[in-house]
Symmetry: C2
DNA sequence: GCGTATACTAACCAACCAGTTGGTTATAAC
DNA sequence: GTTATAACCAACTGGTTGGTTAGTATACGC
């Protein structure tokens, strides 16, 4: 005979946090449509209704998870101190940072992937997402400008395209490593291949941004 | 009062084809988990059981759709006649081809995306997928070798990394255009931005593969 | 013109799943 | 202590969904 669960100590902050953590993991693993609200509630060790109490519905929960993931990325990016580096090296440091962030937050790329499959229908309704990402392009823009003053970065770089290039070279590799490894019969996930990938990315970006020699 | 549907003329080839077409569209739109077998059957204007008759289950149908999509890509790629071009230009022609293929087959990238969210569980069981992709790296490898003989391509290029770079710069941009457009408040889908993206990709790859001047 | 493989269909089913109902109990403010 | 608020829960619901059952119709070989 199972005795009823003892009444739990109340801790609203922690319960909310546990729901968001469990949701990030499960949404990341299964995608929005594949994820089950019951699984999230069970993993978070709270009742399903508490989840609905805090977040309203599955879509709103997903939106929260996405916003929090972006926030973590942009906060860490903004905390980088790149002022001590020459601008061209600082841009390569952003390549490293982006790669490391993807590697250490596997849910992030999977969450974004699911959101894009749904044509960003959650982000489009988010009122916080613009503010969260406000600093990102400014960082890139000012590094490009400084690099031009320092004569190490070419004059016609578009910060948006630079940001997309850096993101895409790492994001695609990690997100698609399962199909790529299968199709080309090589384990892209190995330590060795991951190190090699970072070198290739630095090389590609480095050659692209460098000022042409006279 | 609805009269019963008149018995349909038999046409096994066409029915199969209609199921695959409808499945490619719907799986592409909704992803594997978001897609509904009933919707595919209705769109293909056949009975659901006919779909099960031909393909067994939802997973097997998805596998067929994926294999067919890869096959289309690789067949068109192999049909490209690049022998008339200098090797460095031929590689840039592959950049153009890949981009154009993604643009004209929007389901392809979405299908692959869904498959990667599921960690390639369908492709991993496919017995046809290796054969379908067999020529791809050979094309890249031989172009690199020829470029080295022609002294226009650097000596240390890895065909796998080159292929991944070309794929990622276009794939990521198109697959993530919804979140990117939202986050950075600019319409990446516009004709102008698409043209610009292709130019950037050609520039990035071009500078990366070029032999260093003495 | 008969037998059989296969193209094709309608109706059904059990499991699943997002969200709800209808509460109880801890906490804090007064 | 009384009361308001919010944390927390078990059990339920109704629509959905992948897959099945039990068959009829057609084409084709012989």
């Amino acid at each position: 005979m199972k005795s009823p669960a003892p009444p739990r100590k109340r801790n609203p902050g922690e319960s909310r946090q546990r729901i968001l953590d469990a949701a990030a993991r499960h949404f990341g693993e299964a995608g929005f449509d594949g994820a089950r609200v019951d699984v999230i509630a069970r993993t978070a060790r709270i009742n399903k209704q508490l989840l609905y109490h805090y977040f309203g519905n599955k879509d709103a929960l997903f939106t929260h998870v996405l916003e929090r993931a972006y926030q973590q990325l942009r906060e860490q990016e903004s905390a980088l101190n790149l002022d001590g580096l020459p601008a061209d090296e600082a841009i390569l440091a952003l390549v490293n940072f982006t790669w490391k962030f993807y590697l250490s937050h596997p849910d992030f790329i999977r969450l974004l992937n699911s959101e894009n499959q749904m044509q960003a229908r959650h982000l489009k309704r988010s009122r916080r997402i613009a503010a969260i990402n406000a600093q990102h392009l400014k960082i890139y823009r000012s590094l490009i400008a400084r690099g031009q003053r320092e004569k190490t970065v070419r004059g016609d770089l578009d910060p948006l395209q630079l940001s997309i290039n850096i993101a895409s070279l790492g994001f695609f590799y990690l997100m698609n490593r399962h199909t790529l490894s299968t199709v080309f019969k090589s384990d892209l996930n190995s330590e060795r291949m991951q190190r090699k990938r970072l070198e290739v990315m630095r090389d590609v970006i480095g050659r692209w941004i460098r000022a042409d020699r006279k």
